[in-house]
């Protein structure tokens, strides 16, 4: 980098023109990928993640089954062209395995796995663009894809990053900010206000932690609203398309009955 980028300038703006607590825009697209049961493309600022969910279905190998609940299998793939510097990561890359296992443990308390003993739920995550907030984008995308696949959840899982620059906390960091300032990732369940994940890879002063944590939980609620709107919009479009298409005369009575129930 030629000159040092100011993380937060005197006017209170960040390098991409946002305020301290301002989030980047999120767009959610539920169009299906291949034969997946549910899939979603989530753009979070310049980060773009595609999540597909298969299942619950029979596990590929007997060894992976758990006798009293479903096994969650998460695979992450980062496209070589997703970052500024080209880097091809293999499937066994430690960083990717860590990311996958973090996502898996985040969702274990959120999915009602006890309903599907001896089966498997596959979550395939493809990262297309990377600009900070990778883990939150993956978690939010997975929540939506699971919902789209009709897998029962106890609650949404909403995740966001938060960091602190000198003494001022900020939310939803870009790569530039992530490289420079200490940050945490928080995943929370908005209805019960429980937290399923808190991670931190950098050092953060203990006095600052509570403030950022509280802010991140609040931001999680905002993201929950956004996600809920997207799910509602999709569901209502599905419901409205149920009525579309001509039905033979004989079937009409049955359709009416379905509508009543």
């Amino acid at each position: 980098m030629g000159s040092r980028v100011e993380i937060l300038n005197d006017g209170g703006f960040r390098s991409d023109g946002r305020r301290q607590y301002e989030l980047r825009d999120i767009s959610i697209d539920f169009s299906l990928q291949g034969t997946a049961d549910g899939s979603v493309t989530i753009h979070h600022g310049l980060t773009q993640v595609l999540v597909s969910v298969f299942g619950p279905r029979e596990a590929k190998s007997r060894a992976q089954t758990i006798h009293d609940r479903a096994n969650i299998n998460v695979e992450v793939n980062i496209a070589a062209f997703s970052t500024g510097e080209r880097r091809k990561r293999s499937r066994g890359d430690k960083r990717i395995l860590e990311l996958a296992s973090t996502i898996k443990s985040t969702f274990e308390p959120a999915i009602q796995t006890h309903l599907y003993p001896r089966s498997q739920i596959d979550v395939f995550i493809q990262i297309l663009q990377l600009d900070g907030g990778l883990l939150p984008a993956c978690i939010n995308g997975t929540t939506l894809a699971l919902a789209a696949a009709g897998i029962p959840l106890f609650d949404f899982v909403c995740a966001i990053t938060g960091g602190v620059h000198s003494a001022s906390p900020m939310l939803d960091l870009t790569t530039l900010e992530e490289n420079d300032i200490p940050h945490i990732t928080v995943a929370m369940m908005p209805k019960t206000e429980r937290v399923t994940l808190v991670t931190m890879e950098t050092r953060l002063h203990v006095d600052r932690f509570e403030e950022i944590f509280g802010l991140a939980v609040d931001a999680g609620k905002v993201i929950h609203k956004e996600m809920k709107l997207a799910v509602q919009a999709r569901t209502s479009s599905l419901v409205s398309s149920l009525g579309v298409g001509s039905k033979p005369e004989g079937d009409r009575g049955m359709a009416m009955e379905l509508d009543d129930s």
């Binding site: 697209d29 169009s31 299906l32 990928q33 291949g34 034969t35 997946a36 899939s39 310049l46 595609l50 597909s52 298969f54 590929k60 695979e75 793939n77 496209a79 070589a80 062209f81 997703s82 970052t83 500024g84 080209r86 091809k88 499937r91 596959d122 395939f124 493809q126 297309l128 663009q129």
Partner: protein, 338 residues
């Protein structure tokens, strides 16, 4: 590669062989499904494209979907694999979403197969663009073409080659200018080093001053403009297109769906390039599958293949020109009218 029972296979085969031939989606034998193409999908790449075949419009689901992206790297010649005049390296990776029934080992094998076909075709020296060199004998561009298969609903090879062609067409190579440092006479060094500082061209100027005593050739380069205003790859019209002919005894058909793919015994991949001045060139030819066929049949298939490839090539060409206009001219007009 869908799992089909014997009964399903023979059902598909007999309806293809019936007169007139019948396909599940009502297409004729040489009809393609709808192809959608968009360039410039990866903002951090030098060139990129997304191609989908057979996506159904209302919900955007289904169909084969492939994204290709080109990234350029500067490579030193003589260390590792660097070649004078630049080289091309291709890789294909498949999302497990595309092949949910495959284990990760089988997926790796499949990726390797696709990579080797793509790399041996596009990496061939006859197709190498003439503007990948930077400094003769010292530096050259390494062109990385990365392809991700998101979904496979049949005919994945044709889709991969279309995406590769579109991404390579879209690629812009940054313009470079050779820089040469000459040793100055002692009395002029002072003023010269000041001028160099203003330029800020390179940090190892001290060393270069020493080096150029032995050689007068350019030792380094600089970029006169930003990355997105480079020039297109040389000879970009020549990038090949792939046509897959699915062979049943006595007939062939194009753009097979997954079910059709697994019910034919033999597949023929042909890659043709159509350079603007020279005659059409057959780049790759692969016969895959357990079936057999005779050599006279192959000759007629090659002729047909060339005809189909020509159609695909001209359709792609006009679409890519449209995309160029959409992304440059129209985007500029839109910006002005804002």
């Amino acid at each position: 590669m869908a799992l089909l029972s014997k009964a399903e296979k023979s059902y598909i085969q007999s309806s293809l062989l019936s007169d007139p031939p019948l396909r599940a989606d009502g297409r004729a034998l040489t009809d393609f499904r709808t192809i959608a193409l968009e360039t410039g999908v990866a903002p951090l790449a030098n060139g990129s494209a997304r191609v989908s075949i057979g996506r159904n419009a209302p919900d955007g689901g289904g169909g084969t979907e492939v994204v290709a992206a080109v990234k350029l790297e500067v490579e030193a010649i003589g260390e590792g694999e660097g070649v004078d005049g630049g080289r091309i390296s291709c890789s294909v990776s498949c999302s497990p979403t595309a092949y949910p029934h495959l284990s990760s080992g089988a997926l790796d094998d499949l990726q390797h197969d696709m990579t080797s076909v793509l790399h041996s075709t596009l990496g061939h020296s006859s197709l190498r663009p003439n503007n990948l060199g930077i400094l003769p004998g010292k530096k050259a561009w390494l062109l990385n073409l990365d392809i991700v298969v998101f979904a496979d609903a049949g005919n994945v090879y044709d889709t991969i080659f279309m995406a590769a062609r579109a991404a390579l067409w879209d690629t812009k190579v940054p313009r470079t200018r050779s820089v040469e440092y000459r040793a100055k006479k002692l009395d002029s060094i002072d003023s010269e080093s000041k001028a160099m500082d203003v330029d800020g061209a390179n940090q190892d100027q001290g060393k270069s001053v020493l080096d150029t005593r032995e050689t007068t050739k350019a030792t380094d380069f600089e970029l006169p403009d930003y990355w997105d205003e480079g020039e297109v790859l040389g000879g970009r019209e020549a990038w090949p297109v792939c046509v897959t002919l699915n062979l049943l005894p006595s007939l062939h058909f194009l753009d097979a769906s997954l079910q059709e793919e697994s019910s034919v015994p033999l597949r023929l991949h042909t890659m043709f390039s159509f350079p603007p001045t020279a005659a059409p060139c057959l780049q790759t030819f692969r016969l895959i599958g357990p079936g057999v066929t005779n050599s006279t049949h192959i000759q007629s298939l090659m002729k047909d293949g060339e005809k189909y490839a020509r159609n695909i090539w001209s359709a792609l060409e006009s679409k890519l020109k449209d995309e160029d206009i959409r992304r440059n001219q129209k985007a500029r007009e839109k910006f002005i009218c804002r």
